[in-house]
């Protein structure tokens, strides 16, 4: 080395610490193109997740429109029954693996680092890799419309023996692509879970003990722990399925000594808790938003935090309730009936905490708050029908009917997706720097609320009367309920128009957002909107109190006014 060269930085790409450097991709563009690039900024990745997920919400919604179109008359006249099987398989898979998981990972990426005062996720490149697997498996899944035989018709649960038949004999078939997509989704989610948990354990701001963390972070750890424990089991089950389908093994073939029931155990061991992977972050969103819009501290913060982990634990020991009518022995049914019902305790604690927070509060009915109230309202209803379904005799009676379809759509759409909408309306200003239009938002809420009741309540009724699920045609006695449900579903389709209009027009030319438009408490609201690349950069605040001190008049961090002034100044300069 000659003396004329300046002191060089020794090969940084081999320093293990570079792995933690926030944005090691040089020359990443700083305009809309960054959303199409391999960017390692958690805020960009978060929005990438969200945009991808919303795209697939439209795809999944379109599939459901076709199904409801088919079901508006008793006969199978719009699509034939095998196409219908493909439609509901793809609708379920798309909505879960390509809409809900990605959009909640979007929230995690956008919210966890600023909420805990971290500059970024613990492993930015792993984060980007986990995201880019989403469009890849999205394309793989969509490709099943093009392969011979079309998409898998075995449902999103893909039970053998149906799912290990390959009547056309092509290696590349819809079921193969389905398994590939789900396995990739599992790997991507495990990568995400490692990243989120490590970030929360390791990268909290000084002074932020576990019991000063926002509930959203608690629920994120609780939900991601389920991903870590449950997803490997689903992935193992899916790999065995792939072997049976494509390589002639007998894991699930009774003629070779295998057992199709084992798949159901593998599948539901994850796929029941998966509901909590989705609903826990939404509980987190409710717990964040109620204190803001009721101007009161979260009622029972500690209990709510701990209840999240109780839900994680219980969710992992309830899976057999999906198999009450699959030849499960009676003692096992009784055992899992009890564990399933126990889940009502921690979830009930949360509901009471929200009601306690609202009680005597000064409510501000913004769009976000309306979605929260609507979501909790629907969740209480879904909780009651959930207890009904946990009861073995009731479940055996209605388990394969539209009652179940109504129940889980009330959870997955009318609770989880409401929470997602609430989160979008609440944090949109923070991450785009623009306010959303409240008028369009309220229209969206109104149409969604009416639409979802009109869609899912008649399903409960039809199910109680005995209408089976997974059918393209039905007995004319269920026609009235189905007409209502279809009209409701089309209303939900219409409701996305003001929502998308709002998203696009607000982002392009909405009013500039101040750092803290809702006067909320939390580290993310001490940052300018949108936050700078590394959040607090080198000026990380020291947290001195819990996250929900509404009306208590105590500061959240040391020298709070300094951060407020800084954020306001950063917002003022264009």
């Amino acid at each position: 080395m000659t003396s004329t060269t300046p002191a060089p930085a020794p090969a940084p790409s081999f320093d293990p610490r570079v792995l933690k450097a926030p944005h090691p991709v040089p020359g990443a563009p700083n305009n809309w193109r960054r959303f199409l690039s391999f960017n390692t900024d958690a805020k960009v990745i978060g929005l990438q997740y969200m945009i991808t997920a919303l795209f697939f919400l439209l795809v999944g919604g379109l599939l459901s429109m076709i199904m409801r179109g088919e079901l508006i008359t008793p006969a199978a006249d719009l699509v034939d029954p095998s196409v219908y099987n493909g439609l509901y398989t793809m609708h379920g898979t798309v909505m879960l693996f390509l809409f809900l998981f990605p959009i909640l990972n979007g929230f995690n990426n956008l919210l966890i680092p600023p909420m805990i005062g971290a500059p970024d996720m613990a492993f930015p490149r792993l984060n980007a890799a986990a995201f880019w697997m989403v469009p890849v498996f999205g394309v793989i899944l969509m490709a099943s419309f093009l392969v011979p035989g079309g998409p898998s018709g075995a449902g999103w649960w893909a039970y053998p023996p149906q799912s290990i038949q390959n009547p056309l004999g092509h290696f590349l078939n819809g079921q193969f692509l389905w398994i590939l997509a789900v396995a990739l989704s599992g790997i991507s989610s495990i990568m995400g879970a490692v990243n989120f948990i490590t970030t929360i354990i390791r990268m909290r701001a000084p002074g932020m003990g576990w019991f000063r963390m926002p509930i959203f972070c608690w629920t994120a750890v609780a939900a991601q722990a389920i991903q870590l424990i449950g997803l490997p089991v689903l992935t193992a089950g899916a790999v065995l399925l792939l072997f049976d389908l494509s390589f002639g093994t007998s894991f699930y073939r009774p003629e070779g000594g295998g057992d199709p029931m084992l798949y159901q155990h593998f599948f539901w061991f994850y796929s029941h808790p998966a509901v909590y992977v989705m609903v826990l972050p939404v509980f987190g969103i409710f717990s964040e938003l109620f204190p803001v819009y009721a101007r009161k501290p979260l009622f029972g913060y500690h209990v709510v935090a701990i209840a999240s982990f109780a839900i994680t634990f219980l969710s992992l020991i309830v899976w057999v309730h999906h198999m009450f009518y699959s030849g499960t022995p009676q003692w096992m049914r009784n055992l899992f009936m009890v564990t399933t019902m126990l889940i009502a305790v921690p979830t009930g604690i949360k509901v009471f905490a929200w009601i306690g927070t609202l009680w005597g509060g000064k409510l501000r009915l913004t769009t976000a708050m309306l979605f929260c109230l609507g979501g909790v309202f629907n969740f209480i209803f879904a909780g009651i029908t959930g207890i009904m379904l946990a009861t073995v005799p009731v479940d055996i009676h209605v388990g394969n009917t539209y009652f179940v379809v109504g129940h889980f759509h009330t959870v997955i759409f009318s609770t989880i997706t409401y929470g997602v909408f609430a989160g979008i309306y609440h944090w949109f200003p923070k991450f785009t720097g623009r306010m959303m239009y409240e008028g369009l938002g309220k229209l969206h809420f109104l149409l969604t609320f009416i639409g979802s009741q009109l869609t899912f309540l008649p399903m409960h009724a039809a199910g109680l009367l005995g209408m089976p699920r997974r059918v393209a045609s039905y007995d004319p006695e269920f026609a009235f309920a189905n007409v209502l449900a279809s009209l409701g579903a089309f209303l939900l389709g219409v409701a996305t128009i003001p929502f998308l209009l709002n998203l696009v027009s607000s982002w392009v030319r909405g009013e500039k957002a101040p750092p803290n438009p809702w006067h909320a408490i939390g580290l993310e609201w001490l940052l300018p909107s949108p936050p700078p690349a590394e959040n607090f950069e080198h000026d990380v605040p020291t947290v001195v109190s819990g996250p929900y001190g509404y009306g208590l008049g105590r500061p959240l961090v040391e020298h709070e006014e300094r951060y407020v002034a800084k954020a306001a100044k950063a917002g003022a300069t264009p």
């Binding site: 080395m1 930085a9 020794p10 090969a11 940084p12 081999f14 320093d15 293990p16 610490r17 570079v18 792995l19 933690k20 450097a21 926030p22 971290a118 500059p119 970024d120 613990a122 492993f123 792993l126 495990i190 879970a193 490692v194 990243n195 948990i197 490590t198 970030t199 354990i201 390791r202 990268m203 909290r204 701001a205 000084p206 932020m208 870590l228 424990i229 997803l231 490997p232 089991v233 992935t235 193992a236 089950g237 065995l240 072997f243 390589f247 002639g248 093994t249 007998s250 894991f251 070779g256 000594g257 295998g258 057992d259 084992l262 593998f266 061991f269 590394e534 990380v540």
Partner: protein, 200 residues
């Protein structure tokens, strides 16, 4: 520039403002927990088939030969000790010694893989021979894939150790790979007990 140059300080280090140490290992340990769940699920499946499947061993198959796999098991398990020696040498700043032990660990892993290949080639049943064949090849194959991954990762670390200026004592990568290797060994011991010892 010496080969034991400390890491550059210009690279921003995050996460340490909270007084926490390195988080790479935290993440890696969490990942290993998840991996162990996959193996647990597969072990549970194996145990269920073993105890309740109406068709277990393929016709004409009595059981597995234990002596040969036991020898390769000894090689694999003792490599856990060797990798420890490698890590200790690195912590003491003895890079050459580290490379020697590290290379020996790789070789032992490779010997195990070759042994597994030979065993597979000699077995009288295949992947399609009922649930026994499927479970046997899936379990040993999935574990073998982990051994292979471990050997490849070790090769990567070895190659890195020849790049000047970045091998400070106690490299995180080396610690992570050696954790992975211990994990793979422990899994093999359970797997060996499940498949070869529990035959009757």
């Amino acid at each position: 520039m010496t080969s034991l140059n400390p890491a550059p300080t210009e690279v921003p280090v995050h996460g340490e403002h909270a007084g926490h140490g390195d988080h790479t290992l935290t993440g890696f340990v969490i990942f290993l927990l998840s991996e162990s769940v996959i193996f647990l699920a597969l072990f549970a499946g194996y145990a269920i088939y073993k105890t309740s499947s109406p068709l277990w061993l393929p016709p004409g198959v009595e059981g597995l030969e234990v002596a040969m796999p036991l020898r390769f098991t000894v090689v694999l398990v003792s490599s856990s000790g060797v990798i420890y020696l490698a890590e200790r040498a690195l912590h003491r700043g003895r890079l050459r010694q580290f490379r020697a032990w590290w290379l020996l660990t790789m070789a032992m892993g490779a010997v195990f893989l070759v042994g597994q290949g030979l065993e597979w080639a000699a077995l009288p049943f295949g992947l399609g021979d009922g649930v026994y064949g499927a479970s046997f090849y899936l379990l040993t194959g999935f574990h073998g894939l982990h051994v292979l991954t471990g050997v490849l990762l070790m090769g990567l670390m070895l190659a890195r150790s020849f790049r000047p200026g970045n091998y400070d004592a106690g490299s995180v990568g080396v610690t992570a790979v050696s954790l992975f290797w211990h994990f793979v060994d422990v899994i093999w011991v359970v797997l060996f007990a499940l498949i070869y010892v529990w035959q009757r």
